[in-house]
Chain length 226, copies 2
């Protein structure tokens, strides 16, 4: 009947996960960005981040007006949740036939309540996958995040070829759109044109050719060479 949070509340887990994701590319996580991602008021984030910073052990480093970063402890907890989330997405797609645009929300709810035993069994049943259905890396049982050497699609220029590795998107409508275009992990593509001013690129996938803007191409990551 408990909530299986190993003493870390569900709300805290959400904070840590989002701080992890916001700080992945270097900077610290701002109050506002966190508030937006969590769907709560900035003032509430300030209070909560202060609490996380003065917990024992502290889960985040925080100085007023400077945003938050994760401590070692906080990072451990974040990676645990991210591992849960990504294994669950994989699991839902592979065993229950969910599509990749449907699993995010479900995994967000389940990630907080599954046991370590569940996690272990799921990983084994899936053959210890290293990427989820969006191509996102799954931290290992040791909570190490593997390296990702992929490149943003937006950085390619004609006539480069590439294979899609990872699609960084949550919005179901966008994911369905990308699915229709064939822009999914594993897809091979080639760049046929690039517009320098608007950043649009023309790509060919499955013999279909179309143009994508930076809003999309910045969030698709590829391995160069088809």
């Amino acid at each position: 009947m408990k909530t299986m949070t190993k003493g870390i509340s569900q709300s805290t887990q959400d904070y840590l996960k989002n701080i992890y994701e916001l700080t992945e590319q270097g900077a610290s996580a701002s109050t506002n960005d966190l508030a937006t991602r969590l769907g709560i008021a900035p003032a509430s984030v300030t209070g909560m981040v202060q609490k996380l910073a003065s917990a024992t052990p502290p889960l985040v480093d925080y100085r007023k007006h400077q945003g938050a970063t994760l401590t070692k402890e906080g990072q451990r907890a974040a990676l645990e949740i991210i591992r849960h989330h990504r294994l669950l997405e994989t699991w839902l797609v592979q065993t229950l036939g969910f599509s990749w645009d449907e699993v995010h929300e479900e995994a967000c709810r389940l990630e907080h309540v599954i046991s370590e035993d569940f996690e272990t069994r799921m990983a084994a049943a899936l053959g210890h996958p290293t990427r989820d259905p969006h191509g996102e890396l799954i931290p290992g049982a040791d909570l190490q995040m593997p390296d990702d050497d992929s490149t943003p699609l937006s950085s390619l220029r004609p006539p480069q070829d590439a294979t899609i590795i990872r699609v960084n998107a949550i919005d179901p409508a966008l994911l369905r759109h990308l699915d229709e275009l064939g822009l999914i992990p594993g897809a091979d593509l080639s760049i046929s044109a690039h517009s320098p001013f608007d950043g649009n690129i023309s790509i060919k996938v499955d013999d279909r050719e179309f143009v994508v803007g930076p809003a999309i191409s910045n969030n698709i990551f590829v391995e160069i060479g088809g």
Copy 2:
């Protein structure tokens, strides 16, 4: 990021589920029994039950010192959770190899967070089962609880034969014990003796013979005739 409770909190769901189970055999659910099952103080139960009774729509009928029963609405919600719980137990056993003593706790946490979509897919993948790994009946998608025509093992007398249909137990240690004895749903048994004063019966299962007391035999339900 929400908790998928259709406006009914997780705590409320636990109350309703437990009231359902306590009132299944007729009487109303007392404050104390609920407190014991939920692991909280009786005073807290009083407060919560009062709240459930004055919700709109009311989820329980309640009069001071008289215990609580479910309203139609409350029963609907309870059956929804029980359906989740029992499908999940079945799912965990069949797809992740959990044993029947390990699934209760896990299902108690998951039951509150899965979507209707998840429920539907799980039911379909399992072939719309009507009983969970303990033999407990699973309410249908229409939230009708099927009839159970089984008989308590404790009511049998030599030389009756029977097949185990349902084992009403949660305690993992007890469930492992029963598993070792072969007292699991589907097992055929025959009654070889009955002690009138202590209620013990001797039963033979898988060519092994042993004695079980009423604490066990009252919670094993059978279909008479092997």
